[in-house]
């Protein structure tokens, strides 16, 4: 419990320090209206929250991220398990994953807008696209890393092939899957902003773009800080999940 208190305390002090440095930099170093200090940014954020504008953008972006993320994960886990478990599947699908993962989601924006329009579908497609390959590779690596003796032990306790998969390979792979999902979530944040910058009616990316058009520097900073905090929060959730599922038996992760 004490260590958790120390963790939270560390977060608070760390963030306070960041804002202090920012404040000092704006006051003494940069001295430009284009680089506002934290105070006017927080005031602007408060106004946007009171008018419910910030929440709308956050909800719009997060909804797309979560929809695309869970779609990509739902496809990625079974495909990764199949690649990791069956050699023919691996030989067949590995070229695909190795090919597509080098085409970044950002490069797919144009074609996804042509296919799916500027509505929700194109964003969800892009997030799912950026998620799926990371999850596939992490999951397949996890299956490959299951210790030989774990499988043999199950076999000589009488396990069928299906039981070995369900009761040994799958649980042993969970930490790898969660780690893959955590990495994919970071990618999703990068992708959503790019997608909303190019083509969208709402969301944090759109907010960034509009603020640039109207030179609302405070709005840009509000959007940036929102992205940072949202990413930080989701990553913490994943860290907690990984620790709950895996930390107990894999302290290195």
């Amino acid at each position: 419990m004490n260590s958790r208190l120390a963790t939270v305390g560390g977060y608070i002090i760390g963030f306070a320090l960041l804002f202090l440095i920012w404040h000092l930099a704006a006051l003494f170093v940069v001295k430009s209206v284009l680089f506002p200090s934290p105070l006017p940014v927080f005031e602007r954020a408060w106004v946007l929250i009171e008018e419910n504008l910030l929440q709308e953008q956050i909800v719009a972006s997060m909804r797309r991220i979560l929809q695309g993320f869970f779609l990509g994960t739902a496809i990625g886990i079974p495909v990764g398990l199949a690649i990791g478990s069956f050699r023919p599947v691996r030989l067949l699908l590995e070229p695909w994953t190795e090919f597509f993962r080098f085409i970044p989601a950002v490069a797919m924006i144009t074609v996804s807008v042509i296919w799916f329009g500027i509505g929700e579908e194109s964003k969800i497609f892009l997030i799912a696209y950026t998620t799926v390959f990371v999850v596939i590779i992490a999951t397949a690596a996890g299956v490959g890393a299951v210790g030989r003796d774990k499988i043999r032990a199950a076999q000589c306790l009488g396990a069928s092939r299906f039981q070995v998969f369900l009761l040994v390979a799958l649980p042993a792979t969970v930490p790898y899957i969660l780690t893959g999902m955590r990495l994919a979530m970071a990618n999703a944040f990068v992708t959503i902003v790019a997608a909303e910058l190019v083509a969208s009616n709402d969301g944090l990316g759109k907010m960034l773009w509009d603020a640039r058009l109207f030179m609302q520097v405070e709005d840009i900073f509000v959007a940036l800080i929102s992205l940072g905090l949202l990413g930080f929060a989701t990553d913490r959730v994943f860290r907690l999940l990984i620790r709950a599922f895996a930390g107990r038996f894999n302290p290195t992760m």
Partner: protein, 255 residues
């Protein structure tokens, strides 16, 4: 015919660097209820023999029979205790690890728990059932492995240098515990080791292997001493010297 029979068993691995004959013409019969220690230098093929009997690998020549039926692949009639503790399921508690075999057979929760607790007691870990393997010491993990294998009620227990990675004190304690458990259960055991004292302390018969490649059974020494074994007794010393002489020729072949 013996309870377990290995008849002219050989194993040759073929790889990119050519063929490697690990075991050549290995024959052995185990009687039901005996504790057989297979002793040999590293690389003599003793683990390969165990892996073939367990069904993890198939012999290239000869055949292996358990109660007259040929061994094909791993099965619940042959329990295995592995050298390392990587074989334990880190995500399960000690109790659930022990009851894993029962779970595979679809036994109920209450039954599994009762069985697990019985075997926790047998290996001296009463009250430790809720812990995960990461919370247990190396010696405790090997106790869990032994309990897991025994709880599944195999016909034969195969142990692949189970105490090899433990410190000398823990090893001696576990050897005594294993002897006690064996005298209670009289399970048929094939125990692989390179430790002469360990073999003499545990076995009813010690099989000494020729060094590899192409390792095979060189001699079998019966150990007709009462349990619990007293390591300072004359009988124990005599057996130790006899086995030592046999193994010594394999370590220093040109003397």
């Amino acid at each position: 015919m013996g309870f377990v029979a290995l008849e002219g068993v050989g194993k040759t691995y073929r790889g990119r660097t050519g063929a490697w004959e690990a075991v050549r013409d290995f024959s052995l019969e185990l009687a039901e209820g005996e504790f057989f220690c297979l002793l040999g230098t590293s690389g003599c093929g003793k683990t390969t023999v165990l892996n073939m009997l367990a069904g993890f690998e198939s012999p290239t020549t000869g055949r292996i029979l358990l109660e007259g039926r040929p061994v094909r692949g791993p099965g619940a009639d042959r329990g295995v205790v592995f050298q390392g503790h990587d074989s334990l399921y880190d995500w399960l508690t000690a109790r659930d690890n022990i009851a894993f075999g029962l779970r595979l057979r679809g036994q109920g929760r209450a039954e599994r728990r009762a069985m697990a607790d019985r075997f926790l007691q047998m290996v001296g870990l009463t009250g430790q059932g809720a812990k995960h393997p990461s919370e247990l010491s190396g010696g405790m993990k090997q106790r869990i492995q032994i309990a897991r294998a025994l709880a599944n009620e195999p016909r034969v227990l195969l142990m692949d240098e189970p105490f090899g990675a433990l410190d000398a004190m823990t090893r001696a304690v576990l050897q005594e515990e294993l002897s006690r458990i064996w005298t209670q259960t009289r399970k048929t055991v094939l125990f692989i080791t390179h430790d002469i004292e360990e073999a003499c302390a545990l076995a009813t018969r010690v099989g000494v292997m020729k060094r590899g490649p192409g390792g095979t059974l060189k001699a079998v020494v019966p150990v007709d001493l009462p349990f619990p074994r007293v390591r300072t007794s004359d009988g124990f010393m005599a057996t130790f010297r006899r086995v030592h002489a046999l193994i010594h020729e394999e370590i220093h072949p040109h003397e």
